[in-house]
Amino acid sequence: GESVGLHLPTLSVQEGDNSIINCAYSNSASDYFIWYKQESGKGPQFIIDIRSNMDKRQGQRVTVLLNKTVKHLSLQIAATQPGDSAVYFCAENYGYNFNKFYFGSGTKLNVKP
């Protein structure tokens, strides 16, 4: 089903600080998750993924944490930069052969210089 129409929540951080963006997913059977970044006027871009058999995965400046007990994902961005300003979405997959993604409601990250 569709999200109810609400403005995206906004997280404002100072440049250089760490950011934590949270996401609650809906299906306990979901086995694969991706964080996407969407800049204004562009399609979503892959940041990092995690499978359900892991609880943490690290990339360059980003870390994703998965808590299956409470169906919660978080994205941690270290040393946030102005270029990180965007809307961030988590997406869960529970289709056959990873064929469908369902997106969370999104968070707008605003990095202040």
Binding site: G1, E2, S3, G5, L6, H7, L8, Y32, I34, G41, K42, G43, P44, Q45, F46, D49, F89, A91, N93, F98, N99, K100, F101, Y102, F103, G104, S105, G106
Partner: protein, 112 residues
């Protein structure tokens, strides 16, 4: 990665008319997906487009309103039919490479 081109990038349309959005991928893919992103909201999956078969629609979306074509493995179209202002959204085409979904830049539709 995958290069996905969508046309048009934006359009302003009169209510009651229809718009067909094109999606071209730089290489063959089995599945293509169409999403809608309403203003200030997240992405909602409309349908999955498979080459050689009818599209599979998600709950709340029907073929009469959003007919989809998939004539080959690199191309798909989504038509938004009999448009109303509530159809004003960004429409995004997506493909899967391995387990990662790649997106086009979207088509921003405004219905007046």
């Amino acid at each position: 990665s995958a290069v996905i081109s969508q046309k048009p990038s934006r359009d302003i349309c009169q209510r009651g008319t229809s718009l067909t959005i094109q999606c071209q991928v730089d290489s063959q893919v089995t599945m293509m997906f169409w999403y809608r992103q309403q203003p200030g909201q997240s992405l909602t999956l409309i349908a999955t487009a498979n080459q050689g078969s009818e599209a599979t629609y998600e709950s709340g979306f029907v073929i009469d309103k959003f007919p989809i074509s998939r004539p080959n493995l690199t191309f798909s179209t989504l038509t938004v039919s009999n448009m109303s202002p509530e159809d004003s959204s960004i429409y995004l085409c997506s493909v899967l490479r391995s387990t990662e979904a790649f997106f086009g830049q979207g088509t921003r539709l405004t219905v007046v």
